[in-house]
Structures are given as structure tokens and as C-alpha cells.
């Protein structure tokens, strides 16, 4: 069948289940870690784990790993512009207190 060769890559069921298991374990880890007081590192750790989970979901459940470059660029662009929104807004909030007392 001519159409056959264009069909998308089929990922093995075991990969899906494996990813699922990792995601479940990471969910457990993130909950457990949250009970340990690590100061600023709590949020860093929580977001790192969330990002690992999100990456796994995007790459495998959403097949980005097997998708065209265009799709990958699209996803990266979205993250980039979200980052711009957050980072450039923060340039205001983080530096508002800098210039409060008179100069000279």
C-alpha cells in the first residue's frame, strides 16, 4: 500500500507503560520531597521534576520526539515566547526597589 510508508511511527506499548511508570514515580518523589524543608531548593526541585515529567509527556505521549522539525520548532517557539513574557515582566518587578534613595 502506497499510503503505508507515510504512516506515522508506532511506538511500542512497553515504551508508553515505561513512561507512565516513570511519571508516577516522579509524582511520588515530588510529593515526598515537598515535605523536606530545603528552602529555595524546594521550588527548584519541584519545577525540575515537573519539567522532566512535562518533557516526557511531550516527547513520547505527544510523539514530539518522532515529529517533524517544524513541530519541534513550534513547541520551542511557544516556550521561548512564554519565557519572554515571564522574564521581561520580571525585569520590572525585580528592579523596582533598586532606585529608591536620592542619588548624588
Amino acid at each position: 500500500m502506497a499510503l503505508e510508508e507515510h504512516r506515522q511511527h508506532v511506538i511500542a506499548t512497553s515504551v508508553y507503560v515505561g513512561i507512565w511508570a516513570v511519571l508516577m514515580v516522579l509524582t511520588g518523589v515530588t510529593v515526598l520531597v515537598s515535605f523536606i524543608e530545603l528552602g529555595d531548593w524546594n521550588i527548584v526541585l519541584a519545577l525540575t521534576i515537573a519539567t522532566i515529567k512535562a518533557t516526557l509527556v511531550v516527547l513520547f505521549f505527544m510523539h514530539l520526539y518522532y515529529s517533524s522539525t517544524l513541530t519541534k520548532v513550534t513547541m520551542i517557539a511557544a516556550i521561548f515566547f512564554l519565557f519572554l513574557l515571564l522574564a521581561l515582566s520580571m525585569t520590572d518587578y525585580l528592579t523596582r526597589a533598586w532606585l529608591t534613595n536620592p542619588g548624588h
Binding site: 499510503l3 510529593v31 524546594n42 521550588i43 519541584a46 517533524s68 517544524l70 515566547f81 518587578y93
Partner: protein, 227 residues
């Protein structure tokens, strides 16, 4: 199946596309672009969250400590399971296992309702505790925690807005999966034409993805008491 795979594909080819390849690529790319808009849509809320969290950190800690971590964690697990059944369902569509696909998608729907049910329990609890922004907002122990109830209200405003919008996406997702189940049952899809299944799958995983971030940001801010 009454119709062969090829017939399904020929029937599904819209007049303005040259071939199935072009149609499928367009449809998938369109879906990803739509997800980009969804990311930016939630992005506005994440921006507000980031700014207020850095401004009113103790209030956010106090607010997050009223969250039930176990319900939140369970819901995270429920969504991950639903994503698995969704992914396997799409795989069945790729491999012509229509019945199995329908079953897996039904399981996905069940997980979806489970998530909403648990969320409803949490919402109910917040509602009865007056943890809903507005004139009736109350937060017991704000003074003891040494934070202004007003700032905790901002935490709850963002909590309700973010999880509410997420829940709305879940409801829409359940509707879409139901549509796929019905169409799939009627034999609308084949390995050469399953873009709707795949796209609804992408949407579902995206909604899961948002929750993966909402959970640590809203529930796990800090366990330390007394701000």
C-alpha cells in the same frame, strides 16, 4: 468493518488537499499551533502567579497549606493514567484496533470524570470554608500566620482561575473524547486517517501537562509553617 481502510481514507480526503499526507500534516501542525495559543493563554495566568508569588510569598505559603496534597497528588496520578490510556488509544487507532481504541478512550473518560470528581470535592471544601475570592472571602488563621488575608485572597483568586480554567479544559476534553469514541465506534478511522484521534490525544496530553505544573505550583509551595 464495513469499509476498508482505503475507502475511509478516500472518503476523508477533503477536496482542497492534494493527498492524505498533506491533509494529515496540516491537521497535526494546526493542532500544535493551537496548543501554542493554549500555552500563551495559560501563560498570562502563570505570569500573574509568578509576580504575586514573588511579591506575597508568605501569603502564598499560607494559602497552599490549606490544599489537600493527597487529593492533589491523586489527581496528578489520575491524569497521568488517563494520559497513558489516551496514548495507548491513539496507538490502537494507528494499528487498526478499533474496539480496543474505544475501550481505552472510555477508560480515559472515566479517569477524566474521576479527576473532576476529586476536584469538585476540593472546590466544595474551599467554598464552605469561604476560600472563594470576593466579599465573603475569609481565611482563618491569617493573623496567626502573620499574613494579610487580602494577599491570601490573591492566591485563591489565581488558584480558582487556574484550576477552573484547567477544569473547563478537562470538560471540553471529555466532550471531544466522547465524540471520538462515537465516531470511532462507527468506523470513521483507519491507520491512514486518524488525525482527529491524534489531535484530541494531543489536546488531552496538553491538559495533563498544565496540571503537571499546577500541582507543584499551587499545592507544594512550602510545608514550613508560620510563613
Amino acid at each position: 468493518m464495513a469499509t476498508s481502510d482505503i475507502e475511509i481514507a478516500e472518503h476523508a480526503l477533503q477536496h482542497h488537499f492534494a493527498d492524505m499526507d498533506q491533509q494529515k500534516e496540516s491537521s497535526t501542525f494546526g493542532m500544535w499551533l493551537f496548543l501554542v495559543t493554549e500555552i500563551m493563554f495559560f501563560g498570562g495566568l502563570f505570569c500573574a502567579y509568578l509576580i504575586y508569588r514573588s511579591t506575597y510569598y508568605p501569603a502564598f505559603v499560607a494559602g497552599s497549606q490549606t490544599m489537600n496534597i493527597w487529593l492533589g497528588a491523586t489527581n496528578t496520578a489520575v491524569l497521568i493514567c488517563s494520559s497513558l490510556s489516551m496514548a495507548l488509544g491513539v496507538r490502537c487507532a494507528q494499528t487498526s484496533k478499533t474496539k480496543m481504541m474505544v475501550v481505552l478512550l472510555l477508560i480515559t473518560i472515566v479517569f477524566g470524570f474521576a479527576f473532576l470528581g476529586i476536584k469538585a470535592v476540593e472546590y466544595h471544601e474551599h467554598w464552605t470554608n469561604h476560600q472563594f475570592p470576593g466579599p465573603n472571602f475569609q481565611f482563618e488563621g491569617a493573623e496567626a500566620a502573620g499574613v494579610s488575608p487580602q494577599n491570601i485572597q490573591i492566591y485563591f483568586s489565581l488558584y480558582w482561575a487556574m484550576t477552573g480554567l484547567h477544569a473547563l479544559h478537562m470538560v471540553i476534553g471529555i466532550g471531544l473524547v466522547t465524540w471520538i469514541v462515537i465516531a470511532g465506534w462507527r468506523g470513521a478511522y483507519s491507520p491512514d486517517y486518524y488525525s482527529p484521534v491524534e489531535n484530541v490525544g494531543l489536546y488531552w496530553h496538553f491538559v495533563d501537562l498544565v496540571w503537571i505544573y499546577l500541582f507543584p505550583l499551587l499545592y507544594l509551595i512550602s510545608k514550613k509553617h508560620g510563613g
